[in-house]
């Protein structure tokens, strides 16, 4: 194998249990997003756009749909003779089955994959976030600062800081310590789960951590504190721009709604940083004479006969006559029957909502409703 400067390892084994039925049979990175995409498209497209063409994707939880979606990576131009995308599931050894017990152990168990490319740097990514980022710029920063590890951080509102892993830094962005979900945060720089390590250093610490009894084998909880303890140089890389963890039904809905805002920062229409995905190849959408469409994203293969407003409509969706859909996300191939009213909901893929259904939050409720097939059985 040719030596690579930087290899990306994308952690895509997340269960995403706070997405409830959406992730019952589906890994979180494969959850549909933005009318056309799946969550993982953003990270994979960032890799391609950042000219990182060697990507290991670590899968574990419900991998069937995710694996077949990734395929050989052609959708992201990652089908390469040298490098490209490689799906890395857990495997058995002669004596035991080695499930990925933590983010660090997942990488540890794939040291062989990394060794064959003998990279200078390893980029650790997660397939759970919606953002556009040039990893090449982060790598330049890492090299310029002569760091052993660089962690991408984003400023979060102080009152939300206790929900995140917080990096405490000095004024030059040297990381001094790490607080996982601190009750009384001392800083508001949240870790984005994006790390660049010098491979030699990372390998040493992965091996050290593996040998440590009682370690949870997690980058944030174990590897980073271990390196800080040894006075390694850890830098925070301040990222500015749109970044969202879509770990809950509410945040998934919000991130979809963000795409409809006039000032949305994700710029899906920016051709210089395209988000690639497996294109479904459906006919164009048909908007009937009775339909009303306003402030929506609508994908191919849809038939719209009702009113849709401030909504994100995935491929192959049918909205029948007399129906009104507001501030909702309708996932692929769902059929919304006649004379329905749907507001502030996520309708799961393939669900058939019967005629006359009314789905909206209770008066005064903030909750986003997740509509699944079971509701109508």
């Amino acid at each position: 194998m040719k030596k690579k400067r930087c290899v990306a390892m994308l952690l895509a084994g997340g269960k995403g249990s706070r997405l409830h039925s959406l992730t019952k049979d589906l890994a979180k990175p494969a959850v549909p997003f933005g009318g056309k995409y799946r969550i993982i498209d953003f990270t994979l497209s960032n890799c391609t756009n950042s000219r990182i063409h060697t990507v290991g994707v670590l899968t574990q939880y419900q991998p069937l749909e995710l694996n077949s979606y990734i395929g050989i990576g052609s959708a992201w131009d990652l089908d390469r003779k040298d490098g490209g995308v490689t799906v890395l599931p857990p495997y058995t050894e002669s004596s035991e089955v080695k499930w990925y017990s933590g983010t660090a152990s997942a990488i540890y168990q794939n040291i062989k994959y990394l060794t064959q490319y003998d990279p200078e740097y390893v980029l650790i990514l997660s397939g759970d976030h919606i953002y556009k980022m040039d990893y090449e710029e982060m790598l330049e920063y890492h090299i310029e600062k002569n760091a052993d590890a660089t962690i991408s951080v984003i400023e979060v509102p102080w009152d939300e800081a206790s929900r995140f892993g917080i990096m405490n830094t000095d004024t030059n962005f040297n990381i001094t310590d790490f607080d996982e979900k601190p009750k009384n945060p001392r800083n508001n720089l949240a870790s984005m789960g994006i790390y660049i390590f010098n491979w030699k250093v990372l390998k040493e610490y992965l091996e050290k951590d593996e040998a440590t009894d009682g370690s949870s084998h997690d980058f944030g909880k174990d590897i980073i504190p271990l390196m800080l303890g040894d006075e390694k140089k850890l830098m925070a890389y301040p990222f500015k721009g749109y970044w969202k963890d879509v770990g809950t039904v509410k945040s998934l809905w919000e991130a979809n709604m963000d795409l409809l805002a006039d000032d949305n920062e994700l710029h899906l229409f920016d051709h210089s940083w395209k988000i690639y995905s497996v294109n479904p190849n459906r006919p164009p959408q048909y908007i009937s004479p009775e339909a009303q469409v306003s402030e929506c994203l609508v994908n191919e293969g849809c038939i719209i006969e009702g009113d849709i407003e401030k909504s994100v409509i995935f491929q192959g969706v049918t909205v029948e006559k007399g129906t009104s859909v507001k501030q909702s996300v309708i996932m692929p191939d769902a059929v919304i029957g006649k004379n329905c009213f749907i507001e502030k909901a996520i309708v799961s893929a393939g669900v058939h909502v019967p005629d006359g259904s009314i789905i909206r939050p209770e008066e005064g409720e903030e909750e986003i409703l997740l509509v699944s097939e079971e509701m109508f059985q």
Binding site: G34, G35, K36, S74, L260, D262, L268, F269, K274, I275, Y276, S277, N279, N281, R282, P283, P284, Q285, Y286, I287, S288, P289, A291, Q292, V293, S294, E295, C296, L297, V298, N299, E300, V312, I313, F314
Partner: protein
């Protein structure tokens, strides 16, 4: 006996009445229905009918056609065995004798000789339809035909089925027989061959004039026709683009229209076909029109019965009105300003 087919797509046709849309491209590559090219229909039908080897025989201006088809990946024809082949006419002075020029085939006879498929399906590249060729092949075999001509509403469709070995024989004996094309063979009343006809029922339209092109696009707005063309199990495949979903902005009003991906729509659209990546500005009104890929329509424009080819830019406040009987065609890549009214 093997019941497999090779597909031969004759993409040499040039229709004078389609000239406006075929200046830079072959008729086979004319955009249709917002995201397709005319050739997609016959090619997808072949693939959906189990054809694994397709030879494309182009002649004029085939750069955009080659760009569109590429390696054939979008049709699953990028194969080690069989797949997609291009056989451009070696010289463009060869006279045109109709679909299936035996001279053109003769130049590439190795393709036919190497094919292991027992039957060959020869088709034009400008018919919009969704047809399963399986029943046609069964009919051809069961009736013991030599050449079967497919007809629609009792008119020839420019689609023929023949045994590959017989096709090779006819190509090799063309100077003795005087046959110049498949059409010559099927229209010879004294032919010793068993000539059959197969009636295709279902929607089909051959695009050979601007008027036909326009009305076939508008036909798609009728759900009963749409449903005959776009069938989930028999999808019309095309080159995919990584366009985001279409964004309908505040103030957009769209009625009875077909819209492809990647659009940014702020204006009013009615009875129209909007292709991929089109932008329609605030206050613009588009009616009865076909807007092709990546065209941009400025604010407060009024377009009625217009065919906008690709990459056309219409400046703010421009008004272009024509009639459905003779839609106005604006050529690819041009800029239209308000002066057009004067």
């Amino acid at each position: 006996m093997n019941k497999r087919l090779i597909g031969i797509i004759d993409a040499t046709t040039f229709h004078e009445e389609l000239k406006e849309l075929a200046v830079h491209r072959s008729v086979a590559a004319i955009p249709f229905a917002g995201r397709y090219r005319l050739i997609d229909f016959v090619l997808s039908n072949m693939v959906n009918s189990g054809v694994e080897s397709v030879g494309i025989f182009p002649k004029f201006q085939y750069r955009s056609l080659m760009d569109h088809l590429g390696s054939g990946r979008d049709w699953d024809l990028n194969r080690k065995r069989d797949g997609l082949f291009f056989f451009p006419a070696p010289n463009s002075d060869n006279p045109y004798f109709g679909i299936g020029s035996l001279e053109h085939f003769a130049d590439n006879i190795d393709y036919l000789k190497r094919s292991t498929q027992e039957y060959a399906l020869i088709a034009n590249a400008y018919t919009v339809f969704n047809m399963d060729f399986g029943p046609l092949l069964n009919y051809h075999i069961e009736s013991g035909c030599d050449v079967t001509e497919v007809r629609h509403q009792n008119k020839p469709m420019g689609i023929y089925l023949i045994k590959t070995s017989l096709l090779i024989e006819l190509i090799e004996t063309r100077h003795e027989t005087g046959y110049l094309s498949i059409k010559d063979i099927t229209s010879d009343i004294n032919s010793p061959l068993k000539l059959c006809q197969y009636e295709y029922v279902g929607y089909a339209v051959m695009i050979n004039s601007i008027k036909e092109y326009y009305s076939a696009n508008m036909d798609l707005l009728k759900p009963e026709i749409w449903q005959q063309l776009f069938i989930k199990e028999m999808p019309i495949l095309t080159k995919v683009k990584d366009e985001p979903p279409t964004n309908y902005l505040k103030g957009a009003m769209v009625k009875n229209s077909i819209v492809a991906n990647g659009g940014l729509i702020e204006g009013h659209v009615e009875n129209s076909i909007i292709a991929r990546g089109v932008r329609i500005g605030k206050g613009a009104v588009i009616k009865n029109s076909i807007i092709m890929q990546k065209s941009q329509i400025g604010e407060n424009c009024v377009l009625d019965s217009v065919i906008l080819d690709k990459d056309v830019r219409i400046e703010n406040g421009t008004m272009i009105k024509s009639s459905c009987d003779s839609p106005y065609v604006i050529r690819k890549g041009t800029v239209q300003g308000a002066w057009i009214n004067s």
